[in-house]
């Protein structure tokens, strides 16, 4: 898509949704509703990919994705490419709401969100887990394209499990001077929330150096058992490749349940 086309397009409001139901003991994708620029493609029995059919999000865009994973079903969501957030008329936003029923499993693993210079973006996740729901949720943010410092972004993550707060985090990017307490000089920040416990890591004897019974830490990555049922892997890095490597290292410390 040409820059002229980007500039020509107007701010959009979109709300896409995916829902599963349990049908004869198997997962059925019963709702798959695209809403440009959020276009959804089913790529496997329980897998859906986001395909961008327009540039952006652009300033002014308000995008929502709604995921409902019925009890006992499985859903995997990915994206074909990174999301490039561009400036435009006012702030843009992307809100993902997900409800995962008892015994259900959701894997949300989109490619990184790249904040282009001048953007003003808000990313929000509202995730609610019932009973023994399982989740694997990745979020990666890259400050700027090559050679750019990047725009502004506030990310907000709210997860509850069984009605109790599990993880609440807000991170401001590009809004103030960098601090050696917050991001240091890192250009990329990412995390994976998983409901897998990490306290079995050492008992299994299958973990790398740096791991201890209650989490693990290495250069730019930390594996933290939450107070509630789950583990957060959090990483900082100079670029998106290093960020993914660090998150993968962290995840290797958390054995599959």
């Amino acid at each position: 898509m040409s820059l002229a086309a980007v500039a020509a397009r107007r701010a959009m409001r979109a709300r896409a949704e995916i829902a599963t139901t349990l049908s004869a003991g198997r997962t059925a994708l019963t709702v798959l509703r695209s809403s440009p620029p959020l276009t959804l493609r089913q790529t496997g029995p329980v897998t859906v990919h986001l395909v961008s059919t327009a540039a952006g999000p652009l300033g002014g865009d308000e995008l929502e994705l709604d995921l409902r994973v019925a009890p006992g079903t499985t859903l995997e969501v990915g994206s074909i490419a990174s999301t490039l957030v561009l400036p435009g008329e006012g702030p843009s936003s992307m809100t993902v709401t997900a409800h995962v029923g008892a015994g259900a499993s959701l894997r949300f693993a989109p490619e990184p969100t790249v904040l282009a210079d001048g953007c003003d973006h808000r990313m929000a996740v509202r995730l609610s887990l019932d009973g023994d729901a399982r989740v694997w949720w990745r979020e990666e943010v890259v400050m700027g394209r090559y050679g750019e410092a990047g725009g502004r972004c506030v990310t907000r993550f709210d997860a509850t499990a069984g009605g109790r707060p599990l993880l609440r985090q807000e991170l401001e990017l590009g809004t103030g001077p960098c601090s050696p307490a917050v991001l240091g000089g890192a250009r990329c920040v990412g995390s994976v929330l998983t409901t897998r416990p990490c306290d079995t890591a050492v008992a299994d004897g299958a973990v790398a150096d740096g791991a201890v019974a209650d989490g693990a830490v290495a250069d730019g990555v930390v594996v933290m058992p939450l107070a509630g049922p789950g583990t957060l892997v959090q990483a900082l890095a100079a670029d998106a490749v290093e960020l993914r490597e660090r998150l993968d290292w962290g995840l290797a410390q958390v054995p599959p349940s």
Binding site: P165, L166, V189, M224, A227, G228, Q234
Partner: protein, 204 residues
């Protein structure tokens, strides 16, 4: 201003805070903080993240919000187990001294429900007991989030203590509104690395 608030914010209050550096010891060890400028940047970042969260929660606890609910919400905002442990240790020690200094039903009730509350909750409830306002409780919590690390930097780096206090005096306190969730990925990393360090002068 109630005199109790002055005692509560005095770094000489014998509640164990002198041995907590809030990530500063590890930041110094890793070279992230090495002079006044990097100290100021560290403290400013700590204040607008951990400090803002502590201020909001201390303020709400002072205003009478259910401490057990606040405590669970703080757990969800503290991904790092090392930071949860440091916050609960400091909360337990503060609650212990507060109960002896200002015996009161509110503090007994808190100890009965949460023997080791997150520090901002112990601070907020105690602030209410001594007659401080929620806004003052929030300010006290925000200051606590940076004075300990600042003092640790004086001890660890031999910085001029007056210059460090000038830095403290110029920091903007966050306003204690709502229940913020500002996170600081580097503080998490520092706390977890510190906990695994064989040589430590500070608890956190």
């Amino acid at each position: 201003m109630t005199p109790g608030l002055l005692l509560l914010t005095d770094s000489r209050l014998p509640a164990g805070s002198h041995a907590h550096s809030g990530g500063m010891e590890q930041a110094v060890k890793e070279g992230l903080v090495h002079d006044l400028a990097s100290l100021e940047s560290f403290l400013a970042g700590r204040l607008r993240t951990a400090g803002a969260v502590a201020a909001g929660f201390a303020s709400q606890a002072c205003a009478g919000h259910d401490p057990v609910e606040l405590d669970a919400e703080l757990d969800a905002r503290t991904a790092s187990p090392a930071q949860r442990e440091a916050a609960r240790t400091q909360g337990r020690l503060l609650l212990r001294v507060a109960r002896r200094i200002w015996p009161s039903p509110a503090l007994e009730e808190l100890a009965g429900r949460l023997p080791s509350p997150h520090h901002p909750i112990a601070l907020g409830v105690t602030a209410a007991v001594v007659g401080a306002t929620p806004r003052e409780a929030g300010a006290a919590a925000a200051y606590h989030a940076v004075t300990g690390p600042a003092t640790a930097a004086v001890r660890l780096l031999g910085l001029d203590p007056v210059a460090v206090h000038r830095v403290l005096a110029t920091l903007d306190l966050p306003s204690p509104d709502g229940l913020p969730a500002a996170s600081a990925p580097l503080l998490d990393l520092l706390a977890e690395r510190h906990r695994r360090s064989p040589v430590r002068l500070f608890v956190s």
